[in-house]
Subunit: 244 residues, 2 copies
C-alpha cells in the first residue's frame, strides 16, 4: 500500500509520500513515489504515485523519455498544470492498455497519481487522478488530497489544516498525519519523501528524505505522543449521568 498527501495552500504546495510497496505482506520494498519535473523560472511539476508499481514506473519513464521529443506534448511543453494532469492521465491509459492483453488476466493494473505544480503566470494547482483516469482539483475549501491508506491520517488534516495554514505548520501537520498512519498500518513505512514549494518561486525545491533515524521526525513523534497523552489525561471526567 501507500500513503501520499499533497496540499495546495495560500503560500504554496506541500508534498509528502511514504516509500513502502508490498505485494501481500512478504514482498516489501522501498520505492520512491515522489517525482519532480520542471524548468527553473518557468514551471515546476511534482507527481506522487500509488497503485500498481509496474504501471506507475512505466508512466514516469514515458513522461521522462518524452521530455526530449519536441513532436509530442510533454510535461515541459503543456501550457498548464491542468493539461499536464490530462497528459499524465492519458499516459496511464496508454500503459494499462499496453500491459493488459493478453497476459495480465485479472491483475489490477491501475494506478492513482497526485499532480501538483505551477507554471509561470498561473497560480499553483493540485490534482488527483483516479484509477479510472478522470481527475479532481484541490480548492481552498478542500486544500489537501490523499492517495492510498488515507483514513488513519485524515482526522488531523480535517481538523487542523486550512488554506491559510503556513507551509511550515502544514508540513508538521503532514508529518503527524504520517506518524499516525505508520503506527496503525504496517503497509505504510519510512523513509518519507517530502517537498515544500513556495508559491511563485518557480524553483524546484530540493526536498528531503526522512529516514528511520531522523532526529527531527523522532522529536516530533515523541512530542506528539506525549502531548496527546497529556491532553487526554487533562480532559474532564464524565458527569454522573454517563453512569461510568
Amino acid at each position: 500500500m501507500t500513503y501520499c498527501v499533497a496540499m495546495n495552500l495560500a503560500d504554496g504546495l506541500v508534498f509528502v509520500s511514504d516509500s513502502r510497496t508490498n505485494a501481500g505482506i512478504d514482498h516489501i520494498a522501498t520505492f520512491r513515489k515522489l517525482f519532480t519535473f520542471g524548468v527553473p523560472g518557468e514551471r515546476i511539476i511534482v507527481l506522487q504515485t500509488a497503485g500498481n508499481l509496474a504501471t506507475s514506473q512505466s508512466v514516469i519513464n514515458l513522461l521522462k523519455q518524452r521530455l526530449d521529443d519536441p513532436n509530442q506534448p510533454n510535461l515541459q511543453s503543456v501550457p498548464t498544470i491542468y493539461d499536464a494532469t490530462a497528459l499524465v492521465a492519458e499516459t496511464i491509459r496508454e500503459v494499462v492498455d499496453r500491459d493488459r492483453a493478453p497476459l495480465a488476466g485479472n491483475t489490477d493494473l491501475t494506478c492513482s497519481l497526485l499532480v501538483g505544480g505551477q507554471v509561470a503566470g498561473n497560480p499553483p494547482e493540485l490534482y488527483s487522478i483516479y484509477p479510472q483516469g478522470n481527475f479532481i482539483q484541490a480548492t481552498p475549501d478542500t486544500p489537501f488530497l490523499q492517495l492510498g491508506e488515507s483514513k488513519y491520517g485524515k482526522p488531523i488534516l480535517d481538523r487542523n489544516l486550512h488554506f491559510d495554514t503556513p507551509l511550515e505548520e502544514a508540513l508538521r501537520c503532514a508529518l503527524v498525519s504520517f506518524d499516525s498512519t505508520v503506527r496503525s498500518n504496517l503497509s505504510v513505512g519510512l523513509p518519507l519523501d517530502l517537498l515544500v514549494y513556495h508559491k511563485d518561486s518557480l524553483i524546484l525545491p530540493m526536498g528531503y528524505r526522512v529516514e528511520e533515524d531522523d532526529e527531527y521526525y523522532s522529536d516530533i513523534r515523541k512530542r506528539w505522543a506525549a502531548g496527546l497523552q497529556e491532553l487526554l489525561t487533562a480532559l474532564p471526567a464524565p458527569p454522573a449521568g454517563y453512569n461510568v
Copy 2:
C-alpha cells in the same frame, strides 16, 4: 456504515457505538447498535452490531425470543462468554441461510458483531465475530476491538489505550476516537450509545446515550480540537536540512 469500539481492560469493559445506518447516502436513519442481556449477579452480555441491518436485527430478535425457551441453548444458559459468542455466530449463520435463497441475489447479508461480558466465576471476555462467522478475542496486548469505519479513530486507540488504562480515561479515549471518525466520515453519526462495566460487579450498567447537544461531549470535542491545534503550533520548526 457504522463505528463501534469495545475494550476489555484491567478494570472492566467499555462499549461505544454510533447509531447511523445508511443504504447509499440518502437512506440514512438512526438505529441502536448496542444491546444488553444478563441476569443480575450472575452474568452480563453486551452485543454491538455492524453490517446488514435486517440480518443483525433478526439475530438480536431471535436471541431475545429464545431466552424463554429452556429447550434451546440461549444467552442466559450458555456457561461462558465464549459459548455465548459461538451461539451468536450460529444465529447469524441461521439468519443468513434463511434469508439468502431465493430472493437475496447478490445482496451482502452478512453482519459483524462484538460480544463482551462476564459470567460469575470467570473474568470479563470480549470477542469480535467476523462476517465469515469465526471470531477473535481481545487480549491484554490488544485490549480493544472495532467494527465498521475503524481507521479514522484507530490511531488514538493505538497510541493511548492500554490494558491498564482506567475506565474513565478509556471512555474519554473512545469518545475522542468517535469524534475523529464522525468529523471525517459522513456515514458515522450521533447519537452514540455507551456503556461502562466494572469488572466483577455483575450488574448490567445503565449506559448512556450521547445526543448531538450533549454538554460533556461538546466540551470534550472543543478541548480536544483546541489542544491539538496548540500542540501542533508548539512543535518545533523543521531544521534547515528539510529545505522548507
